[in-house]
């Protein structure tokens, strides 16, 4: 499955992602933010597909959009939002924050401009048809230990979440 009309889809997906990203941080209602974030995540999954990374795209959809965001929506529905919506949405240091973040952005761009030549110009040959198999090989051979640690991390997270969210255990 070759990516087609690369230029169009790249700009389209990037626009979707960035615009939804803006929506995430500007919406008053957290549910709207969450929905915008889901759109951003799906757009990003599309970008992954264009980067010949279908497995990561699949994981992005199934875990991020289908799992984590459902958790977010659940929590948003559980905590009262009516009052929070009427309050001031941005904190007092918002100007400082935006200036700092934009400075960071400028820094990024500068670094990219300077360091453009450092990237290899040739694209690595990644056979798309064996992406999943390749990831499996790496994950269960080279990164076995990290994988186990990650599972432990998830276990700890589960226990932690239960401990904190439960009224009485």
């Amino acid at each position: 499955m070759q990516p087609v009309a690369t230029t169009f889809f790249f700009y389209f997906l990037s626009a979707v992602t960035v615009i939804s990203g803006i929506a995430v941080i500007t919406r008053r209602n957290p549910v709207h933010s969450a929905l915008a974030l889901i759109v951003a995540l799906l757009g990003q999954a599309g970008l992954y597909l264009m980067l010949y990374a279908p497995f990561v795209a699949g994981v992005q959809i199934i875990l991020y959009a289908g799992g984590i965001m459902v958790l977010f929506l659940f929590v948003i529905m559980l905590v009262n939002i009516e009052r929070a919506q009427k309050e001031e949405q941005f904190n007092k240091q918002w100007i400082v924050g935006i200036v700092a973040a934009l400075a960071l952005g400028v820094l990024f761009v500068l670094v990219y401009m300077k360091g453009k030549g450092l990237f290899p110009q040739t694209v690595a040959q990644l056979p798309e048809g064996e992406n999943t198999q390749g990831i499996a090989m790496l994950l269960y051979r080279d990164y076995m230990f990290a994988f186990e640690i990650a599972s432990l991390l998830l276990l700890v997270a589960i226990i932690g979440a239960v401990v904190m969210a439960k009224k009485r255990i």
Binding site: M77, L78, V79, N80, E82, K167
Partner: protein, 381 residues
């Protein structure tokens, strides 16, 4: 009993679902599972029921008051409108109560006809209960099966007295109508027809895993609690008390027949289901015996045209499909009763709802309302 969860509390029903432990939900009066216009205010902790309050009276028609302005005969059809799915039983109780007041006894042929019709009515009532109860728990098919078979009973009623639901089948002192030609054959045919059908219902439900899981251990009530709350009928018997007015204080011709009182042990919804299924089989037995030895003779005792019972009072109760149905009638010697008080089984049994559902889940409330087998016409009168 429950502390009053007043309307005020309903107003300030929490703004946050997480933080406050209690959520108050209004179930009914327009709710598909409350069997009419019962309104139940549920106090919930998540899905767990902390307490209930029944709000009744949406179907109140003042039946007891109407009685005071009607003659004894004129009031007879009104009682059919209380428990409209078991109208025959209601009529039987009223007629026998007035007969007791008048010191009249119905002839034995009339008594046999009464038994047959009342037991058929019990079957019809239990069938309706089974269908709706199963529907509440999510099994849709039994409803259509039971309605198909209940139809046969209603056809017999229709042939006998012209009405299907509110039959007004009996009169004070006996029966108005002689049985139609082929009544016995019809009833025998029906018995043959319905016996395998009851097996069919049991096949659908009794060993169905989901049904058992949904009903076993749900809405448990102990025998002592039943007695304390005045609960009667299958609900009481499922808790292990062998109490059936047909045996305890035989009326009509019940002393002539051989039948058993099915009882349960645990007093949960599953036992109540089993008890009612057994009762249906016992009813078939009674009908079979009654049809076999129905005597000849008059169907109406000598009753004065204008009834003026002597001054006094009477309490007569029968075993209606839902429990003890009692009539307390005070006569002042005139043609109209001074006071009629009905002890409806549904009303009394409904009291047990709160006790049965506390600590259970919302879905169980539905199952318990179904298993109590209430008819709102009778609760509100």
């Amino acid at each position: 009993m429950t502390e009053r969860s007043s309307h005020l509390e309903l107003e300030q029903a929490d703004k946050t679902y997480l933080d406050s432990n209690e959520l108050i939900i209004n179930m009914g009066p327009q709710h598909p599972a409350t069997h009419g216009v019962l309104r139940v205010i549920l106090k919930l902790d998540g899905e767990k029921v902390l307490g209930t309050e029944c709000v009744i009276g949406y179907l109140h028609r003042g039946v007891e008051k109407i009685a005071e302005n009607r003659t004894y005969t004129m009031f007879n059809p009104y009682v059919d409108r209380m428990d409209y799915v078991a109208a025959v039983s209601n009529g039987l109780g009223y007629c026998e109560a007035v007969e007791k007041l008048l010191n009249v006894e119905a002839p034995s042929r009339a008594k046999y006809i009464r038994v047959i019709l009342t037991e058929l009515n019990r079957l019809a009532s239990h069938m309706l209960w089974l269908g709706t109860h199963a529907l509440d728990i999510g099994a849709i098919t039994p409803l259509f099966y039971t309605f198909r078979d209940r139809e046969e009973i209603l056809k017999i009623f229709e042939k006998y007295c012209g009405a299907r639901l509110t039959t007004h089948a009996f009169r004070i002192g006996g029966c108005q109508y002689e049985t139609y030609d082929g009544f016995e054959e019809d009833v025998t045919k029906f018995l043959k027809f319905v016996t395998p059908k009851i097996d069919e219902y049991e096949q659908l439900l009794t060993t169905n895993r989901i049904w058992v899981e949904r009903t076993r251990g749900v809405g448990v009530i102990s025998a002592a609690d039943c007695k304390a709350l005045g609960v009667t009928g299958p609900v009481l018997r499922a808790s292990g008390v062998k109490w059936d007015l047909r045996k305890a204080q035989p009326y009509a011709a019940y002393s002539d027949f051989d039948f058993e009182i099915p009882t349960g042990q645990s007093g949960d919804t599953y036992d109540r289901y089993l008890v009612r299924m057994q009762e249906m089989r016992q009813s078939l037995r009674i009908i079979e015996q009654a049809v076999g030895k129905i005597p000849d003779g008059p169907i109406m005792a000598k009753v004065p045209k204008v009834m003026k019972p002597p001054v006094g009072e009477v309490y007569h109760s029968i075993e209606a499909p839902k429990g003890e149905l009692g009539y307390f009638i005070v006569s002042d010697g005139s043609t109209q009763p001074y006071r009629v008080r009905v002890r409806p089984p549904s009303f009394v049994n409904l009291q047990a709802l709160d006790q049965m559902v506390r600590g259970q889940l919302v879905a169980d409330v539905i199952a318990v309302i179904g298993t109590l087998d209430i008819v709102l016409g009778e609760v509100d009168r």
